[in-house]
Symmetry: C2
Subunit: 321 residues, 2 copies
């Protein structure tokens, strides 16, 4: 059994050696290599490997699953960046910004096929694993579509928002854990508990991200505080403030979305506090976190085997361990 | 064993009933449904089914392969249309033109996953079939990238052009035949002959398309004659005329690419004739056609079983049977 750091560095090695994309066409593969090297936290492949290690030492199947999942995740990021018109990711140029729209579309496409090529190497339960993966991949697309749809709408309910972030973000983390477990020989019941753990962890993490963007220290969040407010993003805080607020709060929120200067940040933060959206958000983080830890607790293996997954979740959710 | 028309109509039925995409998000699935109903000749799934019937009656595996291939093909069309900035396909609006860039990207993405979901239902040789499919799918992306790259280059050799159309178009037809054969129990040797048949058929068909665009009757080609010339497409004819022509011909070709009126069409056609590019193109069509029929001939099943594939190839290549 390995810690997060050990698995990240082992994964990076395997990933780099398993993926010498062909040289040509350079216009297709150079941007693929570029995007994969600008990194990311590798959370999904690592939790897949950790889930596998709950039951069995790491196998080739587990590595192929982990690499397939990470490739798929990167494919979705490349295409999301086009749809979001994002010039930067992790402070580096996005593929479409750097190499044009065609490269953005095609690099994403080919990366998704390389993801499936990793999965095709899996020896055990290939069909079952593929169905799980496909169901999840379809949900991820649906989540991205909902995100795009919601941007154009004035009102989105909290339930709709939770559904969107669940599909867009959480199900792939959940799937990573379940796949790792299944390939390690987990029972359907244990695999499902791992899925639930990942799903709740993902939701809690996203809601915490919404919270920290508004109320975290800029040091901790590594980006400008209030970025979501400036970008008029309809986060949990915004939607909850809308739900809980009086007409005057709503009017002020609408007014702020029309202003493009930083001075609106304190105004909006004030509304978040006055309406109690801030506390509601923290309560929601807490509730999904608790659900996540409860699901992990219920996975029927000895507690000490779950230490690394527990530690990782605590770290991601900023909990004292 | 079934004829082309029988298989097309059986395929349409299965395809429609296997693919009731979910209702929601409508913004994602309505354009998917739209694009699949504007049709296409269904050549790829039908040759997959025909290849299967050389060896065995149609099985569920064969149908899943056929549907997966057709979904994948449509996914590539949706994304190609974005990259080509094409407003129309089959005289209907393209997805990105009708529903925007986001819909174009995401419909394509989700359709490719539905393609894999069909393949995941295959019971026999799943891993082998997936590897073949992935290799092909990667080649299709590479072919599209080469096509994009070549548009920006002044000179492309005939070899490069053949490589591009092989990857972009032919390998998927070849793969369809090979998959159908393998799932029907074909030996590796027979499956490879089917692959070669499809690959050469695809190249011959594309070169014939280049020829007919310039020299066919508009009735036969169903579009304006000289369309490729007007669009400054570097077809086989254009590249061969460049290769065979004198400096004066090349100068005239360059001059014509700068003109945007229809009057250049007869000038370019003249150069195609004077340089012998027209005859070279017909000879190339003939040569790839012969190679295709020879490969089909070598598939070790009784000749009468191959009748429907033979008829279809003859029809596509405008040969008397």
């Amino acid at each position: 059994m390995h810690s997060f750091n050990e698995l990240v560095s082992a994964f990076e090695q395997r990933f780099a050696s398993a993926l010498p994309f062909p040289q040509n066409p350079t216009t297709l593969y150079e941007p693929c290599r570029y995007f994969l090297t600008i990194g990311g936290k590798r959370i999904r492949p690592v939790v897949c490997l950790m889930a596998h290690e709950l039951f069995e030492p790491l196998s080739n199947d587990a590595w192929h699953a982990a690499m397939g999942i990470e490739l798929f995740h990167n494919f979705t990021l490349i295409h999301d960046d086009i749809m979001d018109k994002a010039p930067l990711r992790r402070n580096m140029s996005t593929v479409h910004e750097r190499n044009g729209l065609t490269a953005g579309i095609l690099c994403g496409d080919v990366m998704s096929i390389y993801a499936y090529e990793q999965l095709a190497n899996i020896n055990h339960s290939l069909s079952q694993v593929l169905h799980l993966f496909n169901t999840t991949a379809i949900e991820v697309c649906e989540g991205q579509q909902l995100d795009m749809d919601y941007e154009k709408r004035n009102i989105v309910s909290i339930d709709e928002y939770i559904e969107m972030i669940t599909l867009k973000t959480s199900v792939l983390i959940a799937c990573s854990l379940k796949m790792g477990g299944l390939l390690g020989g987990a029972s359907e019941g244990n695999a499902q508990k791992l899925y639930d753990f990942g799903k709740n962890l993902g939701i809690a993490f996203q809601l915490q991200d919404d919270y920290l963007d508004a109320f975290g220290s800029s040091e901790r969040i590594g980006k400008q505080r209030g970025g979501d407010i400036l970008a008029n993003k309809k986060t949990y805080l915004w939607l909850k403030a809308w739900e809980l607020g009086k007409d005057s709060h709503r009017a002020e929120l609408v007014d702020c979305t029309k202003r493009n200067d930083e001075s609106k940040v304190p105004t909006v933060l004030d509304i978040f506090r006055t309406t109690g959206a801030d506390l509601a958000c923290r309560a929601a983080v807490e509730s999904y976190s608790t659900a996540a830890f409860n699901s992990l607790e219920e996975v029927a293996v000895m507690s000490n085997r779950k230490k690394h997954l527990h530690d990782l979740a605590s770290y991601l959710l900023l909990r004292d361990q």
